[in-house]
Amino acid sequence: MRPTAPLILAATLAATAGLTSCGGGSGSDPDTVKVAYNRSTDNKIRFKDNHLAEVKKQFEKANPGKKVKLIPIQAQDNDYATKVQQMMRSPKTAPDLVYEDTFRINSDIKAGYLRPLDEYLAKWKTWDQFVDTAKAAAKAEDGKTYGVPDGTDTRGLWFNKEIFAKAGLPADWSPKNWNEILQAARTIKKKVPGVTPLNVYTGKAPGETSVMQGFEMLLYGTGEAGGNPLYDPGAKKWVTGGKGFSDALGFLKTVYSQKLGPDISDALDPNVGTTVFSEWLPEGKLAIALDGSWLGQNWLKTGGKPWPEWSKTLGQAPMPTQHGQAPGKVSMSGGWTWAITAKSKNPDLAWKFIERLQTKDNAVTWDIVDAQIAVRKDVAQDPKYTSSMPGITFFTGLVKHTHYRPTTPVYPQVSTAIGEAMEAATTGDTSPEKAAKSYDDQLKSIADGATVAAGGRG
């Protein structure tokens, strides 16, 4: 035993040394930009991958010796965010450039994961082309800008005109209030059996999809608390106890308990968003979908589910307010931005890649292939953009009535709490009022007491 002891000791020391060197070194290559982005969980959809690969080629050609390393993360939005946040915590894994959802960016800014871009933006002429709301999308509470948006989106009702014809409903349908939506859904349920009348996203699993497309499209249509039913930006307080909140949950309860929506277990499936555009709508199984402006991209020839007839089959209508109160229509907008991480070792090179992404041609191409609503004035006027897809003028028109989500760091947590309230009301586990109450309780702890009652302001 004894003669071997020094040997083992030596081996241990060597192993430990190896481990330490793994931990300490391995800094990033100064000539490589690491770009992390989310890849669609639908394996047929690769718009972003293809576009980034193309820009990467341009970039490497224009900057000899420099390299771009694309890091696709194929995951649901929530899991993508978790993964990227974990990567950004350590300088060893932090990418240089990340694709950040505007609703989460403030949270990540607060966590110190991102780097302000003001010095770059000041020297960048193209920034003047961005509309003001877009410029504000990635502006933090400290007044600095942390991300460059590459497009936005709006939301409304998509409906299948063929099913509508069978049910005797008009092809230019435009509901004036929530009740008219429910009426149409009931008519379809009665006259066209086997078809799901209406899809409104709900529950925890679809993540922000259900909260924004489903719940907030309803909540912001109640017009409660002076048009800011979630968060009062003036008082910097979150709104509790709103009647609009329980009304919106009540709408979901009506849809799902009266079986006007898809089967609850389908609705609570994390992949329901993909199912809607790849199966239910093209196969004529769904009559009305409350969904986003980008759906059309999936049905292009290059899309995940080519469906050339969609522009004839589907119509669009704005989402009405609860009782038709002014302005009569409601929409929500989000969008994604490119941001440079705080732990990036090549911020200058990363910025150059952002500039490359935002050359006018690349920006136009991106907005077209990803069915984004343009946030740049020059792009919005480009004939290639305006003629890119049927319906694009309809959804660009909704920008007037659109709302943006509260840009505060705790929003993602609030969003999770809303998802839970939705799920409880949808499954019928609790009444809408009780679900709203338990949301209020969670909100108080999330916002650390910075809440204000909806009724209190009249």
Partner: protein, 305 residues
């Protein structure tokens, strides 16, 4: 940790033994690598975990991490969802580990002992195949079995029985069954080994004395494999308490939180709600639940023998 303490305690025993004094540190040397590794890779993370549980660390939304004392634990005990998760964890453990895996494993082992060789080999390999399949694959297989268009409902339809959406109506039962399906092989192996250790003479003697099959099982077999039962129960329970992948793949803790056991709750808090501190505190509490079970089993085993 236990191994580490044992290792550290070793040098104190040496003075009793004869031998050259300078041998003492050298005697410890071969164990040093193991000690260092254990401290580094087992002790380190546990200590870090304990530290985080007392902070308000977040994955996003806050840049600083502060020490908050017992806040996370207080919050857990006041949290309806946490209590729901504890209850579901106990139901899940009781159903799938104690009742399911353990009893079924013993029954299979006992039956297999009497079966002919080919039957034994065949059954053995089928049951063990379920155990060898990786957890996440098993999760998807059982998801496919229980889902609305799945195998189970197809079978029920074929038999003319009413089908239902199992993952929606009875999620905790579905995941419990999945865990039984997956974990029974382990119990079966343990019990097969234990049963084959029982000397033939004793069973034969009991048979001569007129004991029937059940009597023999109750009076001879069970007492003789008591130790194995204890070990098996403990291993099963601890394994079941920490089942995550299976439930995550099948239901993600839903619908609502009707199948959200503690590990799923912990993941949800730490990574979906970004509350790493709170999630870690729940992890420590889970450790505590496991410790309570272990202590009970160890007690039982000591008293019985």
């Amino acid at each position: 940790m236990a191994t580490a303490t044992k290792v550290a305690a070793a040098p104190t025993e040496t003075p009793a033994r004869p031998g050259p004094r300078r041998g003492r540190p050298l005697r410890w040397l071969p164990l040093a690598p193991a000690t260092v590794m254990l401290l580094l890779f087992l002790g380190g993370p546990i200590a870090y975990c304990v530290y985080i549980a007392f902070t308000n660390m977040q994955l996003t939304g806050a840049s600083s991490t502060d020490f908050v004392g017992l806040d996370n634990f207080q919050r857990a005990f006041g949290d309806d969802d946490f209590r729901n998760a504890v209850v579901l964890t106990l139901v899940f453990t009781l159903l799938s580990s104690l009742v399911g895996q353990n009893t079924l494993g013993l029954a299979l082992a006992a039956l297999m002992q009497r079966a002919s060789r080919p039957v034994r080999t065949l059954t053995g390999s089928i049951v063990i195949a379920a155990w060898v399949v990786p957890e996440i694959v098993a999760g998807f297989l059982l998801y496919a079995f229980f889902r609305r268009e799945g195998t189970l409902n197809a079978l029920l339809d074929w038999l003319g029985l009413p089908s239902q959406n199992w993952l929606y109506t009875l999620p905790i039962l579905a995941v419990s069954f999945a865990n039984v399906w997956r974990g029974t092989a382990f119990s079966m192996l343990v019990y097969s080994a234990a049963l084959s250790e029982i000397p033939k003479e004793i069973t034969e003697a009991a048979e001569v004395d007129g004991a029937g099959g059940l009597g023999r099982f109750w009076h001879i077999t069970l007492p003789m494999i008591r130790r194995s039962i204890g070990t098996n129960l403990m291993l099963n329970t601890l394994q079941t308490l920490s089942v995550f992948g299976l439930i995550w793949a099948m239901t993600r803790g839903g619908p609502g939180n009707r199948s959200q056991t503690l590990p799923v709750f912990m993941y949800d808090q730490a990574f979906n709600k970004s509350l790493i501190g709170y999630g870690t505190a729940v992890a420590l509490l889970l450790l505590l639940v496991g410790a309570v079970f272990s202590v009970v089993y160890l007690r039982l085993m000591r008293e019985e023998v």
